[in-house]
């Protein structure tokens, strides 16, 4: 394998199978956004701090900017585009964000949503302190976080269901 050698990557994103060839150094965040056109995953720092690029890799929230596309061969990924139902009905967490004004510019929002989906699945009844800790790895510069905390609290009894494409299967 030399520098320019391309690596085959086959993976499933939001229930759709993709097969691409990538350069070894291509970041997963760039791959999702620019190779697959899934621009809902945002990039704010490319060093793992802001959380805007958070996605689900095999069900776990991780930073897409700290992974190479070459590493996710065979994986299953969920991005923000995979949360709402096919008919456009918002995922309950998305709806809760809207109701509680959990977003302003919305740039950070996809990362918060994908951090919170598995969190709520594991902790259906979090208190405010747990919610704040759970989102402390996501930076939001607009909201002051309160709307986000309110949104999560509003779901805390029911928990957040799985993303639409996972629930269907």
């Amino acid at each position: 394998m030399d520098d320019s050698a391309l690596i085959d990557v086959a993976l499933t994103v939001n229930g759709t199978h993709y097969q691409r060839q990538v350069e070894s150094r291509l970041l997963l965040s760039d791959f999702l956004r620019h190779d697959l056109g899934l621009t809902g995953t945002h990039v704010g720092c490319e060093h793992g701090v802001c959380g805007a690029c958070t996605i689900l890799l095999d069900g776990e929230a991780v930073r897409a900017c700290l992974l190479f596309a070459a590493q996710v061969r065979g994986s299953t990924i969920t991005t923000v585009e995979g949360l709402a139902a096919a008919d456009g009905t918002l995922h309950p967490l998305q709806e809760a964000f809207r109701q509680a004004h959990g977003l302003q510019c919305g740039f950070c929002t996809p990362g918060f949503l994908l951090t919170l989906v598995p969190f709520l699945a594991e902790n259906p009844n979090p208190d405010d302190r747990e919610i704040r800790q759970a989102i402390s790895g996501n930076l939001c510069r607009c909201t002051g976080y309160q709307g986000i905390v309110d949104a999560v609290r509003s779901l805390s009894r029911t928990g957040a269901p799985k993303p639409a494409h996972e629930a269907e299967t």
Partner: protein, 294 residues
Amino acid sequence: MKPAPFRYFAPETLDEALSLLAEHGDEAKPLAGGQSLVPAMNFRLAQPAVLVDLNRIAALSFIRPDDAGGVVVGAMTRQRAVEHSELVAARAPLVTETVPYIAHAQIRNRGTFGGSLAHADPASELPAVALALDAQFTLACRSGQRVVPAEAFYTDLFETACGHEELLVDVRLPTAAAGSGFAFEELARRHGDYALVGVAVAVQRGADGTLIDARMAYLSVGPGPVLATRASASLLGTRGETEALRVAASLAAHEDIVDPPSDIHATAAYRRHLIEVLTVRALTRACSRAQEGA
């Protein structure tokens, strides 16, 4: 902030990985969780020519009991798995207490136990914990394996005993003996940040209630994790009275080996002050736990 080009290998066995490292020497870097290495590559502070991705080596990811009552953690075990492991909680509670201080859930989902230990960031929690627990590191290269105690593993700033052709494969955490108590304290600017100062302590009481063992290990006070041996020794034979803890804390803050840096986050003087404050807090908790366990 895009990484420079590199050659990428994703071996599925340890042997393959070790061969690749042997072949490429210091041109190659192992890639574990990537939570420290990839940011450095994105800033182009690190430009390894070859990456050997360890993530497909299933054999490096495990948590299992050892015969002596301790627990062995494979290097590629995710920090989150360690955090939630009941075995670790039972046999190495200091680790369970400390892991949540590392970054955030999304980082710990990916970051590995071994990666954090091998990275040897002086501000990292786990190396100090490994030192306080007297953990044993297993290093492997193509020609075999060797076991290195935590104290010998950490050699200098971001430097360890792990050679270019070696990998850290697992870490043995000794059992918590009867009468022992642990605690971890740190001060970080924000939730999840690297700490300005942190301390991991492990103490053990004898049958008469006096302390027969004490290990106080610090982070962010030197080029690597630092074991304050003189201060730790001062506790032996005491019952962990407040005054004894104060003395130990003050000794720790002024021990030669404790040489906190002045940097953008804190001055050396403030760090020294924090060493004293946090040491008393950690020892207080550890000693009272040790009482319970005696």
